[in-house]
């Protein structure tokens, strides 16, 4: 029982998907609320105060993007969007609009649970209102207060942009960060379409921190969407 009775809101119109998610989540000890439409989902999100919202992008009454935007008007509850492969663009738009992570159908139970765990952890951290001053994962250690990065005990030097990129990714550890988000946060809103900046600096980060850049351990590329920093805690 890892769920500890956390409430989860599922907004999904297809009964088969609801059945699979219900069995999986309840067996893990989560409390599940179900909504079949976007409108119902919005009402329940306000009433049930869920810890995580699972949102399907293909709802009959409302665009998933619209639901995300409406939710983000008043709540920071983590949102995980569920999409089919053809909805690649909607997915990125939902993420840019404030969704925290995504799952692409078909997905396995392990993937789903890992995403939920990460979201819960981030939600909890947000509520506590504090960030750790030191981040540690494997041989990588980042001391935010002293702006120092150690890899296997050795200090690694970064340019300001590289450092900002690294810390942004770590702040969102184990969640996907879209290209747009990264560009906005690291370079500022003016450079929001210069994806090639990102590629070059990501390559530099991999050169400095990955043992084998072609088989990255930390910096996971999600083609067409963005990057995910893998801390190793989430179990994927």
């Amino acid at each position: 029982m890892t769920g500890e009775n956390e409430p989860i809101l599922l907004i999904e119109d297809e009964p088969q998907m609801r059945r699979f998610l219900r069995v999986t989540l309840q067996s893990q000890g989560y409390r599940l609320f179900e909504a079949e439409t976007g409108a119902d989902g919005l009402v329940q999100a306000a009433g049930r105060k869920p810890a995580v919202i699972l949102l399907d992008l293909g709802l009959p009454d409302m665009d998933g993007l619209e639901v995300t935007e409406k939710l983000r008007e008043w709540t920071t509850t983590p949102i995980i969007v569920i999409s089919a492969r053809e909805q690649e663009r909607d997915k990125v738009r939902a993420l840019d609009a404030g969704a925290d992570d995504y799952l692409t159908k078909p997905f396995g139970a392990d993937e789903l649970l890992a995403r939920i765990r990460v979201s819960l952890r981030h939600g909890a951290r947000q509520e506590a209102g504090q960030e750790d001053s030191v981040f540690q994962s494997g041989g990588l250690e980042v001391d935010f207060s002293r702006r120092r990065v150690l890899l296997g005990g050795q200090e690694v030097h970064f340019t300001p942009i590289e450092y900002r990129l690294l810390t942004t990714l770590i702040r969102y550890a184990d969640r996907v960060v879209t290209h747009n988000q990264l560009l906005r946060e690291v370079w500022g809103p003016r450079q929001a379409n210069q994806v090639q900046y990102l590629r070059v600096y990501m390559a530099q980060l991999r050169q400095k921190l990955e043992a084998d850049p072609a088989r990255p351990r930390y910096f996971i590329n999600e083609p067409g969407i963005g990057y995910r920093f893998r801390s190793g805690e989430a179990g994927f």
């Binding site: 492969r85 690649e88 078909p106 396995g108 702006r147 030097h157 970064f158 340019t159 300001p160 942009i161 450092y163 210069q194 994806v195 090639q196 900046y197 590629r199 070059v200 990501m202 390559a203 991999r206 050169q207 084998d212 850049p213 072609a214 088989r215 990255p216 910096f219 996971i220 590329n221 999600e222 083609p223 067409g224």
Partner: protein
């Protein structure tokens, strides 16, 4: 009679004419000798007959001239309201062309074909309106009198003494499908006139005096009958041709007529046309450009162009020759074309000129040999030159006048300094030098002024008595005369050289521009680039603004979203362009159609279809285009049209190919995929139902195995469906290549992350150079390619063998290789394996789409993919992606973060 095979070329022409007319309306002309013979009446009678047969007849425009009988016939027919056009305070009523087009009857009645429309109408002439109706598939009944025929215009003027201004080209009548001659004897017509059936009473007397004289009417009647007979003859001829009967006339005549800027040429042209029609001969109108002769004025050039146009409208082949000697050029060209008859005008200049410079006519006659030469006179009445249009920039700028005065002043100054030390002849030379220098810089007027001033100053200052214009010694007048003459002739010569140089330079520039255009167009590929370069060239050469308009799927022209130097096209301009496009005729500024438009619109016609329209707006509203320029623009438009058609054809071929392949795919898909889908489905259904029914009785191990089967087969099924969908989308063009600057290392990383467990039995060696540049490609699609290639390698190689993935950069491309140590590919399959639904020999499963998808994606990126065998065993799959020049990055100062402000 011996049967003869029809001339294939002529038959082809006839077939083309038929083809062109398909879907077009038929034109029936009621043809008469004079007003009042009853053409309108006959037309209305015919209309009623059609009406009674159930056809939809509409009177678009019928002039009854208050004639009672005609009026009564008109009653009962549907009459369309006329358009009221206000012009200089007078309201004129014209046929409402758009109303007729909108009403779209089966037959439209349009009286008075030769009528000239009021300014502000779409076309200058009514026959152009009628042609538009015909193009719209409407049959037209119309009337016309013989005196309105262009080629008979001069003859009619000769007979009746009245010059008819409203004429129609003969080709209009040739276009008619049926001609009905409405004929009554002159006595009958005069009788009707007296009875007041033709004109209302008060006009009768005047009409009778001027026009309706028996002699006139007889002559006109003869002309009308003859014209109709000629036409019947022509029909007979084409009937014979179609049937392959032997031609009845022995040898083909060919007539050549020499024309120039002289207004007499008009008569020459008409005579040639009549003679050609009589002899059933081809005819050629020739004008000669002879640099040795005096350079023609702008006015002359316009006149000449008009004559050439007339000849062309009368059916002549129009040729411009250039050479040193006019007579030689005419004769050699005539010989080269097997001309049998040359028509040339009587000389009008005085005889002494011939003595001095030689006579063209004389030389042609002498050198003509077996060719007949007809010398025709022009008649004085018609030969009146038209009121001269003032050349556009005849007035020299003030600067030139000042320059000429100043030049003479300087010459006077120098002469004054020399006065004491040199003779008078030397001083005269100084003035001459000054005048020649001035002539090389300024126009004719200022030069003449300088010449006069020079002579006057010479007299005033240096001829005794000084400082007066009086001259004591008469001998000095000779000096003045010679000085004036020499100065004048020299300045004229200087001018001519300058003007010739200028015109040569302009021609040269246009030729060069055309050459550049065609060369550049040959290199461009896309339609957008082609139109952009055409627009750029037009703007550069003609100092204008231009735009290329292309039709959408429905044939409506649209303003291009992007493009350089486009002027504002409002709805009105766009409709002019649309007209030019629909009717494949130039329209707008300086043309016969909608001349009120701001710009000129030339249709882009290539190999029988219209690609679009090019709109050309003059740089300033004062500077209009000369006919010569319009001609040059048309050659530009032709070049552009051909290039655009090439591009369009290429696009269409691509489309067609895609369509065919999609069709084939669909049919193969059903047969091939159904089997592959059923296998995993059967496994899942079986395992699932077993679990459901006897879950409790199964051992833990069995239950686990069945569950495993469900998960694995579902994944397998998912892969197949994904491949099929990808392939379908690729083939239908539904996949958009979203090119971004991508890092190959990252793509490989994503791919290895996505298939982690798979390389347990096949160690994967990745060799990527660290200096690999960013590549412009779609990351998702290229990851798919790598994924499919590796999956393929895993599938075909025994466990434990290595797979390697590597990349190299070279010559504008990046080359990615996936190599395995499997059994390799049979050489005959190296190409085939990239086809759809082809599986290798050792295949375990899959639809055989993986490599086809790879090929589709790589091709969409402009790369290549191929397979070969390694000498040490195993297969190598290689694909290339075009590399590009990545945009520069903003350099970041290489400061360490430690140095940064802690804020």
């Amino acid at each position: 009679m011996e049967e003869r095979r029809p001339d294939p070329d002529l038959l082809l022409k006839e077939a083309q004419r038929e083809e062109e007319r398909k879907g077009q309306g038929r034109l029936k002309v009621f043809f008469g000798a004079a007003p009042g013979v009853g053409k309108t009446y006959a037309m209305l009678e015919a209309a009623w007959q059609q009406r009674l047969e159930g056809r939809d007849v509409v009177a678009a425009l019928v002039e009854t001239h208050g004639r009672f009988e005609t009026n009564s016939l008109l009653a009962g027919l549907e009459l369309l309201p006329r358009a009221q056009i206000e012009y200089r305070g007078v309201v004129l009523s014209e046929m409402d062309l758009d109303a007729v087009l909108a009403r779209k009857p089966q037959i439209a009645l349009v009286d008075e074909l030769a009528h000239t429309n009021a300014p502000g109408c779409r076309h200058k002439k009514r026959w152009q309106d009628v042609f538009e109706l015909l193009d719209a598939g409407i049959d037209v009944y119309t009337t016309v009198n013989v005196q309105h025929m262009e080629s008979l215009n001069d003859v009619v003027a000769q007979i009746t003494g009245i010059v008819v201004r409203e004429t129609i080209p003969d080709s209009v009548l040739d276009r008619a499908d049926q001609i009905e001659l409405v004929d009554i004897p002159p006595e009958g017509l005069l009788q009707r006139l007296k009875e007041g059936k033709v004109y209302v009473a008060k006009m009768v007397a005047r009409a009778q005096e001027n026009f309706f004289r028996t002699g006139n009417l007889l002559a006109l009647r003869e002309l009308a009958l003859r014209r109709t007979a000629e036409r019947v003859d022509a029909q007979m001829e084409s009937y014979r041709r179609a049937k392959g009967l032997r031609e009845v006339w022995p040898a083909a005549e060919r007539i050549l007529v020499c024309i120039g800027a002289n207004p007499r040429s008009i008569r020459l042209v008409r005579t040639a046309k009549r003679m050609a029609a009589g002899l059933r001969a081809e005819w050629i109108a020739v004008s000669i450009e002879a640099p040795a002769k005096v350079r023609p004025s702008q006015q002359d050039l316009l006149q000449l162009a008009e004559h050439m146009q007339l000849a062309e409208s009368l059916g002549a082949e129009v040729v411009t020759l250039s050479g040193h000697k006019v007579s030689e050029e005419i004769l050699s060209y005539a010989r080269s074309r097997n001309v049998t008859r040359i028509i040339i005008g009587k000389p009008t200049h005085p005889r002494w000129k011939d003595r001095l410079f030689g006579s063209v006519l004389d030389e042609v006659v002498r050198g003509s040999g077996e060719i007949d030469v007809n010398v025709i006179t022009g008649e004085s009445g018609e030969a009146e030159p038209r009121p001269a249009v003032k050349p556009r920039s005849s007035l020299a700028p003030l600067r030139e006048w000042l320059l000429s005065v100043g030049g003479v002043a300087i010459a006077t100054l120098i002469a004054t300094l020399m006065f004491r030390h040199f003779t008078l002849v030397d001083l005269a030379m100084v003035y001459l030098l000054g005048i020649v220098l001035i002539a090389s810089q300024v126009g004719r007027g200022p030069t003449l002024l300088a010449t006069l001033l020079g002579v006057a100053a010479f007299d005033f200052f240096y001829i005794p008595p000084f400082y007066t214009f009086t001259v004591n010694d008469v001998r000095y007048f000779v000096t003045f005369a010679v000085m004036f003459f020499v100065a004048f002739v020299t300045s004229r010569l200087t001018h001519r050289v300058r003007e010739q140089a200028e015109s040569a330079r302009q021609r040269e520039r246009r030729t060069a521009a055309l050459y550049h255009l065609s060369r550049e167009l040959a290199h461009e590929v896309g339609r957008e680039q082609l139109s952009a370069s055409a627009v750029r060239h037009l703007s550069e050469v003609f100092a204008c603004q231009s735009v290329v308009l292309m039709p959408d799927d429905k044939g409506n022209l649209a303003v291009p979203a992007t493009g350089p130097q486009t002027y504002a096209l409002d709805q009105r301009e766009l409709s002019v362009a649309q007209w030019a496009y629909d009717h494949r005729t130039k329209a707008g500024l300086e043309t016969d159609t909608l001349p009120g438009a701001k710009a000129l619109y030339l249709p882009l016609i290539a190999a029988g279809r219209t690609i679009g329209v090019v709109g050309i707006l003059p740089g300033s509203s004062f500077q209009l285009f000369s006919p010569e320029q319009v001609h040059a623009m048309e050659s530009f438009a032709n070049q552009a049209a051909m290039a655009l058609e090439r591009a369009t054809l290429a696009e269409e071929a691509q489309q067609a190919r895609l369509q065919v392949e999609t069709e084939t795919l669909r049919s193969t898909l059903l047969s091939s995929v159904s089997h592959d889908l059923r296998t995993p489905l059967a496994a899942i259904t079986g395992a699932g139902s077993t679990l459901l029914q006897s879950g409790n009785r199964l051992s833990e191990e069995n239950r686990r195995e069945l569950t495993q089967t469900v998960v694995e087969e579902a994944a397998h099924l998912g892969r197949i469906i994904r491949n099929v969908l990808d392939m379908t989308r690729l083939e239908s063009g539904g996949v958009q290549v979203n090119r971004e600057w991508q890092s190959l290392e990252e793509i490989v990383g994503a791919m290895t992350g996505r298939m982690p467990g798979l390389f347990r039995d096949h160690p994967l060696a990745i060799k990527l150079p660290s200096d690999l540049p960013l590549i412009p490609c779609d990351g998702l699609l290229i990851e798919q390619v790598l994924h499919n290639l590796l999956e393929n390698a895993l599938k075909y190689t025994p466990d434990g063998t290595n797979i390697s993935l590597s990349a190299v950069v070279g010559e504008g491309e990046v080359r990615v290789t996936v190599a395995d140590q499997g059994p390799g590919i049979p050489p005959e399959d190296a190409e085939r394996i990239f086809e759809k639904f082809v599986r290798g020999r050792y295949a375990g499963g899959g639809v055989g789409l993986g490599l086809a998808i790879c090929r589709g994606i790589v091709a969409a990126h402009g790369g290549r993919i191929w397979a070969e065998n390694r000498t040490e065993g195993g297969a190598v799959f290689t694909f290339t992606l075009p590399a590009g020049e990545p945009p520069p990055l903003e350099e970041e100062a290489e400061t360490s973060i430690d140095g940064e402000d802690q804020g």
